[in-house]
């Protein structure tokens, strides 16, 4: 590094300058790959924080009548844990994957609106920081701060000024709302990119399934997220302008909020799971060495899930006393989702069937995902059985169900995706040995924790309680549940060590370490800022297969 007059700066100063220059570059970047990495790493940091919050929750619940954590702190931890995991972990990490991969997979140089993309990222980050500021802002740090304590779905009228004075609920509203604007912008960007930036030859029917699922996901975000924003605006009006949207004293309805929240909330869970399916749909074929089985029906199932998911929200409200016909309708629509979801499971199986399955880290995670997700989906179907749900709703059975989908479905595929694309993004392979430790310890811990939880639910333990009496049949189960968290934490530590170690010492990956078929593997690792020297032209769904097998290209069979 040289100074303006040409003399060589002292090495120390050079290092400092280059750090600030690099920081400045990252802060002002509009490159989709950098933003993707920013999304993923911020999401992982939020994951660690929310995971620590969960650990505190489990420490409190390990024993009956425990008084490690008082009710106020517990309720805040519970709310912040759930909200963080959904809005500041699940969504941003997959937005990160989408950011990084969509342009590479469709042979484009960037997203349709790069600046909007950066804007979306910073909105998400500041939304998250605002949300976490609640721990220290206001009357914070004395005791428990003013972090929100209304649960992640913030049912009214608990959120009204009368029952939720101070600003804690406002942090919940504003943190999510700000991040929500960012998510809407990003989704718009994804849709526009996928529809308008594909390289020549890549018709909709030739897009990788990952891209298809992100497209459907983008649409879901667009139609589902603003309803939440709207409902939150109403709540803000109620809280600051004394309006009466959810004011039961003035004839308002508490149930209306529930409808509005779940009109968003249910599609939201598919917003979270579709990108996970997207990862599985890329990993399974490559590691089974076969093309995806039944591409068309996979696309149809994805779109089907997208549509049906807009019409099932009241299955979160089976206990509010809706009428019989309404409950019956929502049972039917909810169960209908099992069909397209089942199609996906079977098509992944069909892809593996007759293949030569290479059980490297990404594939290992996807296989575990298949198991856990079948369990998770089946408990979902049990919840959809209205009378059964009258017993299960708001119990630990539900907590078990959604951690199975969210961890066994979502997190496992995040790990699969990281092991799969880490070499592309960094040029280094993640260690397979540490990876296996990570896998087995975490999977074991996860099943101990959340497998057990089903039984507390069946034995009548409600969720969101900060303590319980001994002798109700929950003591031993809760202890086991909490012990599993230790294993999970150790597993996560293996993962962190793996990432940090491999960044420095990892094996070089080369351009295409997995012998894969989609366009991102046709450029260097990491890809140059402009992605492709020459915009590629594709003939089939597996352009690199065509390249590698000129005698037997895919486009003959599609």
């Amino acid at each position: 590094m040289t100074a303006i007059d040409g003399s060589v700066l002292p090495a120390e100063a050079a290092a400092r300058t280059s750090f600030w220059i690099r920081a400045h570059e990252w802060a002002t970047t509009v490159d989709h790959k950098r933003l993707g990495l920013l999304y993923i790493s911020s999401g992982l940091v939020f994951f660690l924080i929310a995971g620590l919050e969960a650990s505190a929750i489990r420490a409190q619940l390990a024993f009956a009548n425990n008084d490690l954590i008082g009710p106020n702190t517990f309720n805040r931890l519970m709310t912040v844990h759930g909200t963080t995991m959904v809005f500041f972990v699940g969504m941003p990490i997959f937005f990160g994957f989408g950011n990084y991969l969509i342009p590479l997979m469709i042979g484009a140089r960037d997203l349709a609106f790069p600046r909007l993309n950066a804007f979306g990222y910073w909105l998400f980050l500041f939304g998250g920081l605002l949300f976490y500021f609640s721990w220290i802002g206001g009357d914070g740090l004395y005791g428990t701060g003013t972090a929100p304590d209304v649960g992640w779905f913030a049912y009214s009228p608990l959120t009204s000024p009368a029952f939720s004075p101070g600003n804690s609920t406002d942090y919940w509203i504003l943190g999510i709302m700000v991040a929500g604007f960012g998510s809407t912008a990003t989704a718009l960007n994804f849709v526009a990119t996928i529809l308008c930036m594909r390289c020549p030859g890549m018709t909709l029917g030739k897009m990788p399934l990952f891209v298809w699922m992100m497209l459907v996901n983008g649409f879901l975000v667009l139609v589902a997220l603003t309803p939440l924003t709207a409902a939150q605006v109403m709540l803000l009006f109620d809280r600051f302008l004394d309006s009466h949207f959810f004011d039961t004293q003035a004839g308002g309805s508490a149930v209306l909020w529930q409808h509005f929240f779940w009109v968003f909330g249910h599609p939201e869970v598919y917003i979270l799971i579709l990108p996970a399916f997207a990862v599985a749909s890329e990993v399974t074929p490559v590691f089974s060495r076969k093309p995806i089985f039944g591409y068309e029906i996979m696309v149809a199932a994805t779109t089907g899930i997208g549509f049906i998911s807009l019409g099932v929200w009241a299955h979160h409200m089976f206990t509010v006393g809706l009428s019989g016909p309404v409950n019956t309708f929502f049972t039917a629509s909810t169960m209908a989702i099992a069909v397209p979801t089942g199609i996906k499971i079977f098509n992944w199986l069909g892809t593996m069937w007759g293949g030569r399955i290479r059980l490297r880290m990404p594939m290992l995670w996807v296989c575990a995902f298949l198991f856990e997700f079948v369990i998770a989906g089946l408990t979902g179907v049990m919840l959809a059985v209205v009378p059964f749900d009258w017993q299960l709703s708001d119990s630990y059975f539900v907590v078990a169900h959604f951690h199975f989908v969210l961890i066994g479905g979502l997190l496992y595929n995040i790990f699969a995706g990281i092991y799969y694309w880490f070499p592309k993004a960094t040029g280094k392979m993640l260690s397979e040995r540490l990876g296996r430790w990570h896998f087995w310890v975490f999977v074991a811990g996860f099943n101990v924790t959340f497998g057990t939880m089903h039984f507390q639910g069946l034995l009548g333990m409600p969720r969101r309680i900060y303590t319980y009496d001994p002798g109700r049949g929950w003591d031993l189960l809760n202890l086991i549940t909490s012990l599993g968290v230790i294993l999970q934490a150790i597993g996560i530590l293996f993962f962190l060590v793996n990432v940090l170690w491999s960044l420095r010492r990892g094996e070089d990956a080369g351009q295409d370490p997995w012998d894969a078929w989609t366009l991102e593997w046709s450029t260097t690792s990491p890809p140059p800022a402009y992605n492709f020297e020459k915009i590629p032209v594709v003939q089939s769904r597996r352009p690199l297969w065509d390249l590698k097998h000129p005698n037997d290209p895919d486009w003959r069979y599609e």
């Binding site: 309720n75 039961t248 004293q249 206990t319 199609i343 209205v386 034995l459 969101r464 086991i480």
Partner: protein
């Protein structure tokens, strides 16, 4: 592993509760939904077992398939450079795994719809006992309009016998936020929502005590909004009603305590028959000593606990809506001496 441990505990509690108990109250503390003692809960159990069986079957088949595929088609040494036959799909197979789930779903749906229909009961039958349940943060109020009784946290209902069927029909209301009424062995839960009137019914032949608790997050002390439902034989229930209806005996020796009680802010929030106290913000203290617990289940109802409660409710139940009344020790003692006469 977790699954196994859980299953073991579930079985153990199931066995412990299996022997039938007639006449005498049972005090089992586990609210296992697979041990129903009431008509709606039993219907739900039957449906649940069917659903569990179907889902278990699906899990065994699909899980088995995944495991088999993994073992059978795992790459062996030497496979690295050979690609398997490239298969792109098969309409027949895809149709099969669309149609079979559709059929299963239809079956599940029909079973569900039938049970929803059976359990729906919007109007109370002629013979039913009607109770209005009012959710408060964080305690339950029970009103028996038929008898003019108001009590708290512990619901007493009669058993229903074949020759004199007597279901209990609950009207659910809330004065503040949303709660949920849930006693697993008697019925599924139903939310208790302000500005809305929900219903719930149960019908049981099994006298005993059944535990439950609020199942909708309602703020700080959601964990301590416990429910105790006592099912009595018809005769015992009639006796309980008479006791509750009877005026409080005025015990002369505690007149000081009663006077103090009436001069303290207690009466703004509590009612007590035989005094001027008619507050409705807190639970009625009439016949307080007929309750086994106080504070919606935070403590047993003993004189010592009452003293501790009145001296400092915030320690026993942090966040509770009853303030620390800042009474001197002898005042607390006097009031408790009076309260323990409320039989």
């Amino acid at each position: 592993m977790g699954l196994l441990a859980g299953a073991a505990v579930l079985c153990a509690t199931g066995v412990a509760m299996a022997e039938p108990t007639t006449g005498r109250p049972v005090f089992d503390q586990v609210s296992n939904m697979f041990q129903p003692v009431s008509v709606p809960a039993a219907k739900i159990r039957d449906l649940a077992l069917l659903v569990l069986a179907i889902c278990g079957g699906i899990f065994v088949v699909v899980g088995g398939l995944i495991a088999y595929t993994l073992i059978r088609f795992r790459a062996r040494p030497g496979d690295e450079h050979r690609e398997p036959p490239q298969v792109y799909g098969s309409s027949n197979i895809e149709a099969a795994w669309t149609i079979v789930p559709v059929i299963i779903v239809v079956v599940l749906f029909l079973a569900t719809a039938r049970t929803i229909n059976e359990l729906e009961l919007k109007e109370p039958p002629e013979s039913a006992l009607q109770v209005t349940v009012v959710g408060h943060r964080w305690w339950w109020e029970f009103q028996y309009p038929e008898y003019g009784i108001v009590t708290a946290n512990e619901l007493h209902v009669p058993a229903s016998t074949p020759d004199a069927p007597r279901p209990t029909f609950l009207w659910l209301e809330s004065v503040d936020v949303a709660h949920s009424f849930w006693v697993p062995r008697l019925a599924g839960k139903t939310d208790v929502i302000p500005n809305r009137r929900n219903t719930l019914w149960l019908e049981t032949a099994q006298p005993g005590l059944y535990l439950g608790q609020c199942a909708e997050y309602c703020g700080t002390q959601h964990a301590h909004m416990l429910l105790r439902v006592y099912v009595h034989t018809p005769e015992d229930f009639a006796r309980w009603v008479e006791e509750q209806k009877a005026p409080e005996a005025e015990v002369a020796s505690v007149a000081a305590g009663r006077d103090l009680f009436q001069r303290t802010a207690c009466i703004n929030c509590h009612a007590a028959s035989g005094t001027v106290a008619d507050g409705t913000f807190g639970p009625s203290l009439s016949h307080l000593m007929s309750r086994e617990t106080i504070g919606a289940g935070v403590a047993m109802n003993t004189p010592d606990n009452l003293r501790a409660w009145i001296r400092d409710p915030q320690t026993m139940k942090p966040g509770v809506r009853m303030p620390d009344m800042k009474l001197a020790d002898h005042e607390v003692d006097a009031i408790v001496d009076y309260l323990v006469t409320l039989r």
